[in-house]
Symmetry: C2
Subunit: 222 residues, 2 copies
DNA sequence: AATTAATTAAAACGTTTGTTTGAATCATAC
DNA sequence: GTATGATTCAAACAAACGTTTTAATTAATT
């Protein structure tokens, strides 16, 4: 049950990042101690402060390491779509796939740690710790703006505020799909042991259904 | 900026529950100290252990206090629908409203604390702390089972596993809609200052769109 | 009014927390 | 080999944590 890694597994810095990433998912930021991280990484307690400065800076580096790459791929995909389409509008489903599909494919990478990170990311959107949310917002700002602009262009007849909200809802559905699977398992018994590609398919059709839904008026007592 | 409450505001027990609820949302469970709670509640440090036994039991009581009522209303609404429909099938939109709409209406109650609690609940589904998730699962078990059964009956042609997943997605979208509003604000600038009833309307149409979406097959490179 | 129970108060308990320090070890260059 | 810089190590730091204890106070009962 001791997940501590052999010391030869990459340099100390990387081992610390990997250990921290895993423990943050399991126990949260506050619930994970410096001793827990360095212990699992096979490093000395002081190594975190030496390599990263502080626990807070370590947390930021855990995110930056993967998030930069994720958003780079997203924007590259979007750029491909824009070039391919030329003057013509892009299908919303393609935009949604470039953003959410890319994340889901990263989440499907269990061995490389993408799965662990996406679980962490999903639950961090609503994390109370101010500095984490602020940091995430900065890292995300450009990417989200570009994708929202693309959706506005792709859906010129839909109110922009409505698109904004639905983008938000889609973020929520995706985050829970990745981060909170065990929560549903606890409630409902168990899922059939799912391969992640089916999750992609399932979630994408749900997201597009929500995105395209009519703006029906649901009062407070329908 | 000191949110500490006057001592006359209810009995000590209730003041502690209110203070804890608010602080858990702002700082998380681990990030909230006993001293912080009792300080805000205007009570002595030992009061939590006296009234609740431990911090862990306090957390459980914070949830139990509101969750029992929420699920009672949900099941009552479902029962109404079932009686009203008799042998006929119930419209899925009504079932969805009985579950998610009820939660959203509780979240719209800012003064009574429902809003605070729903934000807390939303972010707790994905909380790493094992005992909280286990406790939530137990509190939710019966209610979720009843609603899933109702959806199975209302949508006899749809694969049950698919309904299960979409219920999961809907939970995610709703939780983020309530708990993570500030996250999106940080990213996108700001929303128009929204009255909660429009959120109900917006989210419900999104949820139903997702629930009814065709099971299109989205491969990994569409 | 006396007695019992329930609640609040202040102080201290032993752990655990993140961080810092100064010496020891390692790698690399001259 | 010796010097230089980077890294690792064991040890210690004050601060904050949840909990417990014992005394003081309040409320209820007889």
């Amino acid at each position: 049950m001791n997940g501590s890694l052999a010391k030869g597994n990459g340099d100390t810095r990387s081992r610390i990042l990997d250990a921290a990433e895993a423990l943050f998912v399991e126990q949260g930021f506050d619930g994970t101690s410096m001793r827990g991280i360095t212990g699992r990484a096979g490093a000395n307690l002081a190594a975190i402060n030496y390599h990263f400065g502080s626990k807070e800076q370590l947390i930021q580096e855990v995110f930056r390491r993967r998030l930069t790459e994720l958003n780079r791929i997203r924007l590259a995909r979007l750029h491909e779509l824009e070039v391919e389409a030329g003057e013509a509008p892009i299908k919303p489903s393609r935009i949604v796939d470039a953003f959410f599909g890319t994340a889901l494919r990263m989440a499907a990478d269990v061995e490389g740690g993408g799965h662990t990170f996406m679980r962490l990311l999903g639950r961090t959107y609503t994390d109370p710790q101010g500095f984490v949310r602020k940091f995430l917002a900065e890292e995300y700002a450009e990417c989200v703006e570009r994708f929202l602009a693309a959706l506005y262009r792709a859906l010129p007849d839909v109110d922009r505020n409505e698109i904004l909200w639905r983008f938000h809802f889609m973020m929520g559905a995706m985050s829970y799909a990745i981060a909170g699977t065990d929560a549903l398992q606890l409630v409902t018994g168990k899922f059939d042991d799912e391969d992640p590609s089916r999750l992609v398919s399932r979630l994408m059709s749900f997201l597009l259904g929500g995105l395209r839904a009519p703006l029906a008026d649901f009062g407070s007592s329908p």
